[in-house]
């Protein structure tokens, strides 16, 4: 189980209605069901992973978040979770807007491209960074829109959404991000976790 799942769970109220976008093999869905007794649905693009979710008794729709979120009416869910996939979308702006239309709140996690290892990788090797959390080559990566924690904070001002809570994951420890420590967290955070609202 990914270390951020516990953090995401702490951000979600009990018995809430939740949509997990890109729910993968349903691990987070199961975790939230057990810990928070949520009414949870998932969307997943891979047929194989949809099958895994069905085998776990989870309600999942095979689909693409970029096109298939439109079928949900406004405020269908209290929380919509998007875990480490924002960077893979053709148009992240539309995705964020859709998340916040479908959900009252959204939880978005992003692998931080501003992490010092990534920066050093590019600085010294002069090639596109390959790290544990970003294992692909530039030509076969699904991550076409990488951003940093700082970029995401700026993005909130550009496309106008509120960041309700922002957390950084450093060596499996979670800490708050605020204006005064943003530069530091952007350098050491492996993952940014944001609870956002319209």
């Amino acid at each position: 189980m990914k270390p951020e799942y516990k953090i995401i769970s702490n951000l979600i109220e009990k018995n809430a209605k939740v949509l997990d976008v890109g729910c993968d093999d349903g691990t987070l869905m199961e975790f939230l069901k057990t810990n928070k007794n949520v009414n949870i649905r998932g969307i997943e693009i891979s047929k194989e992973k949809v099958q895994t979710c069905i085998a776990k008794g989870l309600t999942v729709i095979e689909g693409n978040a970029e096109f298939d979120l439109k079928q949900f009416p406004n405020d269908s869910f209290e929380y919509v979770v998007l875990g480490q996939t924002l960077q893979a979308f053709i148009n992240p702006e539309i995705v964020i807007k859709e998340l916040l239309r479908v959900g009252k709140k959204a939880i978005v996690t992003i692998p931080n491209f501003g992490h010092w290892k990534v920066r050093l990788n590019l600085l010294f090797k002069g090639t596109m960074p390959i790290t544990n959390s970003l294992p692909h080559n530039w030509y076969n990566t699904p991550n076409i829109h990488m951003c940093t924690i700082k970029d995401f904070v700026r993005f909130s001002k550009i496309i106008n959404f509120k960041i309700f809570k922002s957390l950084a994951l450093i060596n499996e420890n979670v800490s708050d991000i605020n204006n005064s420590n943003l530069i530091f967290k952007n350098l050491f955070g492996e993952l940014g976790i944001f609870l956002i609202e319209k």
């Binding site: 047929k47 099958q51 069905i54 085998a55 776990k56 008794g57 729709i61 095979e62 079928q71 009416p73």
Partner: protein, 374 residues
């Protein structure tokens, strides 16, 4: 085909008002069951059959002596596990396996109905089958499941009886028969009508059958159940028991011989007038129109958990038409899962050994049953 004394039949006494305006009562509904109903009576699954199916879902069909039409999916340890569930399936009204249909005698005229039989709809079919619940003392089914026309019955059933099933699995179907669907059905009906033996539907009294017309109808329909890729891989341009073309009109190609065979075996087990009536019922199916253009309204009163399944190579009821049902359900916050199964076997995939499909169906049912959802 007169070995029908072993067929279980419920005589439905309660009057049923058909969509065409006529009311029927004291009519036979032939059914079969598999597995056993538990004490809580909460393990029943009503399976709906497709156009040419019947109540003999699995095991050996006592009339045709062949495997039941859903033997891959239903049985001990299978997707619809008869060790666990009590499976009920009825022959649709309008059919020809014992239920009230055009080959029955009209009590008023003492003649076989033929085309005097009332036109029936998918709605009529499910309204007839709801009587089985009372008969078995079942308050709520665990599931309603069906593919193709069976899937249409699932949708209609949930719409008509929103609190009578805990789960619903419509497979490879549509909420509204498309122009292409109607066109293919019309082709089949015209093939039957063009057979001189059909005699405007009165062939029974003359002791003849429009077998040539019915066979052509089946051949045409059979093509729509398969995919181009599937056909090409199975038959290609392979020749039938010959080394070269014969420059004539015998079945040179294996695909021709295969289709002729499919047509010929079909006429032994199916009634031509039933084929007309059931295809008509499918053509009239339009749940979207029934709810004034808003399919969501068909399901607004149900808490049933849905699982919708489509197949990549099904061009008769393509994925998008199945997805439209998912979209309508999501629009009202219903509990719906969906998967499109990769298969090159076309629309027929749901009847065949397609492991991903069989696994998904089994997992959905077994997990939902374990959850004890209400």
């Amino acid at each position: 085909m007169n070995i029908k004394q072993n067929i279980k039949t419920l005589i439905v006494e309660k009057p049923l008002k058909l969509d065409c305006g006529q009311t029927i009562n004291n009519f036979p509904l032939a059914y079969e069951t598999y597995g056993s109903l538990n004490n809580e009576k909460d393990n029943a699954i009503l399976v709906f059959h497709a156009l040419t199916g019947d109540q003999f879902v699995t095991g050996i069909n006592p009339v045709t002596k062949k495997d039941g039409w859903w033997s891959y999916a239903v049985g001990s340890g299978k997707s619809i596990d008869t060790d666990k569930y009590f499976v009920i399936c009825a022959n649709v009204i309008g059919g020809c396996m014992g239920s009230f249909g055009p080959s029955h005698e009209n009590p008023k005229t003492k003649k076989i109905y033929g085309t005097d039989f009332p036109v029936i709809t998918i709605n009529d079919m499910v309204n007839a089958q709801i009587n089985l619940l009372d008969f078995f003392g079942i308050k709520k089914l665990f599931s309603v499941v069906g593919g193709s026309m069976g899937g249409m019955q699932v949708l209609q059933f949930i719409s008509n009886y929103p609190d009578k099933a805990k789960t619903a699995v419509p497979i490879a179907c549509t909420s509204s028969h498309s122009a292409q669907n109607i066109a293919f059905n019309e082709l089949g009906r015209q093939a039957i009508a063009a057979d001189h033996n059909w005699s405007e539907g009165n062939y029974n009294s003359k002791n003849i059958v429009p077998d040539k017309g019915l066979a052509v109808a089946r051949m045409a329909a059979h093509i729509t159940y398969l995919s181009k890729k599937g056909l090409q891989e199975k038959f290609g341009r392979k020749l039938q028991e010959r080394d070269d073309l014969k420059f004539g009109f015998d079945a040179d190609f294996q695909i021709e011989s295969y289709l002729r065979y499919q047509g010929s075996v079909f006429v032994d087990r199916f009634d031509a007038n039933s084929y007309l009536y059931i295809t008509r019922a499918m053509d009239y199916f339009d749940l979207v129109k029934q709810f004034n253009g808003n399919l969501s309204d068909a399901f607004k009163n149900t808490r049933a958990k849905f699982f919708i399944i489509s197949f990549t190579s099904d061009w008769l009821y393509p994925t998008q038409e199945n997805k439209d049902i998912v979209i309508a359900l999501n629009a009202i916050g219903a509990n719906v899962g969906f998967v499109e199964i990769e298969s090159d076997k076309g629309h027929d995939s749901f009847l065949l050994n397609v492991p991903d499909f069989l696994k998904a169906l089994k997992n959905f049912l077994d997990k939902s049953y374990a959850e004890k959802i209400s």
